[in-house]
C-alpha cells in the first residue's frame, strides 16, 4: 500500500501550531521574537512561493543537553521496540539494546523509512552498520561544538539512532543532490514545510548539504584518514539547531505521527516556530514542494491566507484531507467534558486525555478522573512516603476503574524535555500501586512504558 494512500485516508495529526507547544517551548517563545511572516508570492498554475528570510539562530537551540539526547533515545527505542517486547531497553545513560546478537529491527526500520519517504535516493548496503556513511556518522560527535558534543555522543552511540540518521540521509536529505530538490510524497512535503516554518529553510538546506557531502566523502573514502576527514567536515557543519533537525527527521521513520512540530513528543526539541504563513498553510495530500536557492519553497497543492485560515482553524500548518483539517492549535476548542484543560498551553495534551476518557467511558469504566490525585482500586488515596520536597501524591492525566475493578492510570508526555520527570513519575506511580495498570505515552500514541499487573489482561 502506498504511503500517500494511507496518509490520505487517515486524519493524522499534522500539526504545526504556535500554541500547541509544551510549557518549556512556550517559555522559549515568550522570550524570543514573534514568528516572522514568510514572504508569499502566488505563481501561475496555483503554485505558491514561500521565501524564508534568514534570521540568526536561536541560542537556546544551539545547545543540546545530555538529558535531551537521552530522552530522544528513549522515544526512538520505544517506537522501534513497540513490536518487539522481548527486547528490553535500559534506562537512559546506559542505553543499549539487550539481547546480544539479536537483530534489533534494522530491516523493519529501513522498510518504515521507505514506506514514508519513498525510495532510496542514495544507495546503502543491506547491512547499514557496514556502510561508510554509518561509520563516519559514528565518528562525527568528536568534531561537534562543545554545546552539543556530549549529547551527540549519546545519540550517535545508539545503533538505532545511527541507522535512522543513515536512512534519513538516504531517503530525504539525499534530495539535495539535485540543484532544486523536489518532494512529491505528501509526507516529505509536510515535513519540509514544517521544518522550514520551525527553523527556516536555510537551516534545513545547510544541514541537508552537510549530509550529502558526508555521504559522498565517506563513500569515496579509501583510508581511515579520509573517512575521518569526512566525519570532521560533517561534525563541524552541524550545530545545535542542525542536530535537532537531524533528530526530527531521523525520528520520522519511526514515529507514529507525521510531522508535528512542535505539537508534542520530539517536536518540542525545536521549540516554537520561527516563521509563519499569514492565515496558515494547509497542505493537501497531493502537494509537492521544490526547494529553490536553498531559501525558498515552491509549493503546489497548498492553501494559504483566508482559505487556509478557514481550513486550518488557526493552525500554522495543517493537512487537509477531504476538506477537513487535522490537528489542533490556537483556534482549537478545548474539550472539558471530563474536567478543565490539563494545560491551556497544550491543547493536544488535553485532547488526548479527553479522548482516552471518552473511550474508557464507552468501555464501561467508572470513576473517570482527569488530573486528580492517584487512587488505588479501593479508592484510597495513594500517598508517597517521605515528603521532603517531592509530591505527596501523584496526579495521573487519566485514571479510571475498569469494570473488573482494576485501576487504570495513563500519563502523556507532551514535551520530550520533561521525559525524565515523566519516567520518574511513572516509576513512582507503579511502585505506589503495583496492582494498577500504568501507561506512559507520547502524544502521537507511541507507548513508552506500560505496567500490567500479573494476572490482569489488557484488551
Amino acid at each position: 500500500m502506498k504511503t500517500d494512500t494511507v496518509f490520505s485516508r487517515v486524519l493524522l495529526p499534522l500539526i504545526l501550531t504556535l500554541s500547541a507547544a509544551c510549557t518549556t517551548s512556550q517559555a522559549a517563545m515568550a522570550e524570543g521574537a514573534a514568528p516572522r511572516v514568510v514572504k508569499e508570492e502566488a505563481l501561475p498554475g496555483g503554485w505558491v512561493r514561500l521565501s524564508f528570510e534568514p534570521i540568526a539562530p536561536d541560542p537556546a537551540l544551539e545547545v543540546m543537553e545530555l538529558e535531551e539526547a537521552q530522552a530522544v533515545l528513549t522515544v526512538l527505542h520505544a517506537a522501534l521496540l513497540a513490536e518487539r517486547p522481548e527486547i528490553r531497553v535500559l534506562p537512559p545513560a546506559r542505553f543499549q539494546l539487550l539481547g546480544e546478537g539479536e537483530e534489533w529491527g534494522e530491516r523493519r526500520l529501513r522498510e518504515r523509512f521507505q514506506a514514508r519517504f519513498g525510495g532510496m535516493l542514495l544507495s546503502l548496503p543491506e547491512d547499514l552498520e557496514q556502510s561508510r556513511l554509518y561509520q563516519a556518522l559514528k565518528l562525527s560527535p568528536r568534531y561537534m561544538g562543545a554545546g552539543v558534543r556530549e549529547a551527540a555522543r549519546e545519540l550517535f552511540g545508539s545503533p538505532v539512532f545511527l541507522a535512522s540518521v543513515s536512512m534519513s540521509i538516504a531517503v530525504y536529505f539525499g534530495a539535495w543532490l539535485a540543484p532544486e530538490p523536489l518532494f512529491s510524497k505528501a509526507f516529505a512535503v509536510t515535513l519540509t514545510a514544517a521544518l522550514a516554518l520551525t527553523v527556516g529553510m536555510v537551516e534545513v538546506a545547510n544541514l541537508a548539504l552537510a549530509c550529502v557531502r558526508l555521504y559522498w566523502e565517506s563513500e569515496a573514502a579509501k583510508t581511515e584518514r579520509e573517512l575521518e576527514a569526512a566525519s570532521e567536515h560533517f561534525g563541524r557543519a552541524v550545530g545545535g539547531t542542525g542536530l535537532r533537525v537531524l533528530v526530527m527527521v531521523a525520528s520520522m521513520g519511526l514515529a507514529k505521527a507525521t510531522p508535528a512540530v512542535p505539537g508534542g513528543g520530539l517536536g518540542a526539541l525545536l521549540g516554537g516556530p520561527r516563521y509563519a504563513v499569514e492565515g496558515g498553510l494547509a497542505v493537501e495530500a497531493a502537494a509537492t514542494a521544490t526547494v529553490v536557492a536553498n531559501r525558498s519553497l515552491i509549493l503546489s497543492g497548498v492553501a494559504t491566507g483566508e482559505v487556509a485560515a478557514r481550513l486550518c482553524g488557526g493552525l500554522a500548518l495543517c493537512s487537509t484531507i477531504e476538506g477537513k483539517p487535522s490537528g489542533s492549535g490556537t483556534g482549537a476548542k478545548l474539550s472539558t467534558r471530563y474536567g478543565s484543560p490539563h494545560t491551556r498551553q497544550n491543547p493536544p495534551h488535553n485532547e488526548a486525555i479527553e479522548k482516552e476518557l471518552a473511550a474508557r467511558e464507552a468501555a464501561g469504566h467508572t470513576q473517570l478522573r482527569k488530573n486528580k490525585a492517584q487512587l488505588d482500586a479501593q479508592d484510597k488515596r495513594v500517598l508517597e512516603r517521605g515528603t521532603t520536597g517531592g509530591p505527596r501524591f501523584r496526579k495521573p492525566d487519566v485514571s479510571s476503574l475498569r469494570p473488573d475493578g482494576v485501576r487504570h492510570n495513563t500519563n502523556y508526555v507532551s514535551n520530550v524535555r520533561d521525559l525524565r520527570r515523566e519516567l520518574d513519575a511513572f516509576e513512582a506511580m507503579k511502585r505506589l500501586d503495583p496492582e494498577a495498570i500504568h501507561e506512559l505515552y507520547l502524544l502521537d500514541g507511541t507507548l513508552l512504558r506500560r505496567h500490567v499487573p500479573a494476572g490482569v489482561s489488557l484488551p
Binding site: 490525585a373 488505588d376 479508592d379 511502585r431
Partner: protein, 322 residues
C-alpha cells in the same frame, strides 16, 4: 512588594504545583502572592472566580494555607458554587476545598465539613468522595462528630473498606478498645482496613499503642495474604504503609517483642503474590530487619526492575548493618 508580573508568575507556579500534587512547593509559593496575608487573600479570592478549574483548585489550596474564619467562609461559599456546577470540573475543585478545610484549625471548618457529609449522605456519592470527607473529618476529630458520622454511615451504603466506617470506629472506641477490636477475629478484615486507611494519613499519639494489636492481626493473616490478592493482603499492605508513613514515631517506639513479630510478618510477606503488600513488607524490613533477612529478600526478588530495586535497596541496607 510583588508587582503584577511577579504575582502573575507566582500564581502560575502555584497552579502548576497544585496540579502536580506538589504541596511543599505550593506551600512556599502562597505567601509570595503578596506582601502580607491580606494581599494574598485578595489574590486568592480573585483566583476563585477564574473559569479555569485548575486556578480555582490552587486558590482553594492557598486559602487552606492562610487558614482562619474568613478562609472557611470563602471556601464554604465556593463549595456550594462548585457543587452546583455538577460537572467533573466542579468535582475537582470540591476535592481541593475539602482538603483545604481539613487543614484549617477554625471550628467553622469542621462544621462546614459536617454539612458537606450531610449533603453527600442525602445522595448517592462515590466512595472516593466520601473517603475524602471522612479523611478531612478525621483530621478535625471531635466527640460531637459521632452522631453525625453514625447517621451518615447508616444512610449510605458504601462498599468496604471505606474510611467513613473507619471514622465511626475511631470516634466510638478508646485506644484500648480499638486494640481489642483490632485483635477480634470476628470483626471483618475490611472494616479494620478502613480504620488503617485513616491512620495512614494521620496518627494521633494516643493511638500508637493500638498498633501492636494491628500487627498481631496481620500475623494471623499471613497465610491468606501470601497466596492471593484479597482483603487480607490489602489489610497488610495498608498496615505496613501506615507503619512506614509514621515510621519515626511507630517503628522506633515498638517494644522488642512486637518488633520481632513485625519482622516475622514482613519477612513472610515479601513472598506475597500481592505486589503492593510484598513491596511494603520489604520496605518495613529495612527498619526492623536483620542482615540475615537479606537472603529471604533475594529469594523473592521480583523480576520487574522497578520492584526489584526496592528489594535491592533494602538488601543493601540490611547488609550494611554488619
Amino acid at each position: 512588594m510583588a508587582n503584577k508580573v511577579d504575582v502573575a508568575q507566582i500564581r502560575g507556579q502555584l497552579v502548576d504545583a497544585v496540579k502536580q500534587g506538589d504541596e511543599p512547593r505550593a506551600r512556599v509559593l502562597v505567601p509570595q502572592l503578596g506582601p502580607g496575608p491580606r494581599h494574598v487573600r485578595v489574590v486568592l479570592e480573585a483566583m476563585l472566580e477564574d473559569p479555569d478549574a485548575l486556578v480555582r483548585q490552587a486558590a482553594a489550596f492557598g486559602l487552606g494555607e492562610l487558614s482562619g474564619a474568613t478562609s472557611v467562609r470563602c471556601l464554604e461559599q465556593q463549595l456550594a458554587i462548585e457543587e452546583a456546577r455538577g460537572d467533573y470540573d466542579g468535582e475537582a475543585v470540591v476535592e481541593e476545598i475539602v482538603r483545604a478545610l481539613s487543614r484549617i484549625e477554625d471550628a467553622g471548618a469542621r462544621a462546614s465539613l459536617v454539612r458537606k457529609l450531610d449533603r453527600l449522605a442525602a445522595g448517592r456519592p462515590e466512595r472516593s468522595d466520601v473517603n475524602e470527607v471522612a479523611h478531612a473529618l478525621w483530621k478535625k476529630r471531635h466527640p460531637e462528630l459521632l452522631p453525625v458520622v453514625r447517621r451518615s454511615f447508616e444512610q449510605l451504603s458504601l462498599p468496604e473498606p471505606n474510611t467513613l466506617h473507619g471514622l465511626l470506629v475511631l470516634l466510638e472506641k478508646s485506644p484500648v478498645e480499638l486494640g481489642a477490636w483490632a485483635l477480634d477475629s470476628a470483626v471483618p478484615v475490611r472494616h479494620k482496613t478502613g480504620v488503617l486507611m485513616l491512620l495512614e494519613e494521620q496518627l494521633p499519639d494516643s493511638l500508637i499503642s493500638a498498633f501492636p494489636k494491628f500487627i498481631s492481626a496481620a500475623s494471623a493473616l499471613i497465610r491468606p495474604a501470601l497466596n492471593q490478592r484479597g482483603e487480607a493482603a490489602y489489610f497488610c499492605e495498608v498496615l505496613l504503609n501506615a507503619l512506614l508513613m509514621h515510621r519515626e514515631r511507630l517503628l522506633i517506639a515498638l517494644p522488642e517483642a512486637v518488633r520481632a513479630e513485625l519482622r516475622h510478618v514482613a519477612r513472610s510477606l515479601v513472598a506475597s503474590k500481592a505486589m503492593g503488600c510484598a513491596l511494603r513488607a520489604a520496605s518495613v524490613l529495612e527498619f526492623v530487619g536483620r542482615p540475615e533477612d537479606a537472603t529471604e529478600l533475594e529469594t523473592h526478588r521480583p523480576a520487574d526492575p522497578t520492584f526489584a530495586k526496592v528489594f535491592d535497596d533494602v538488601v543493601r541496607a540490611l547488609r550494611s548493618l554488619h
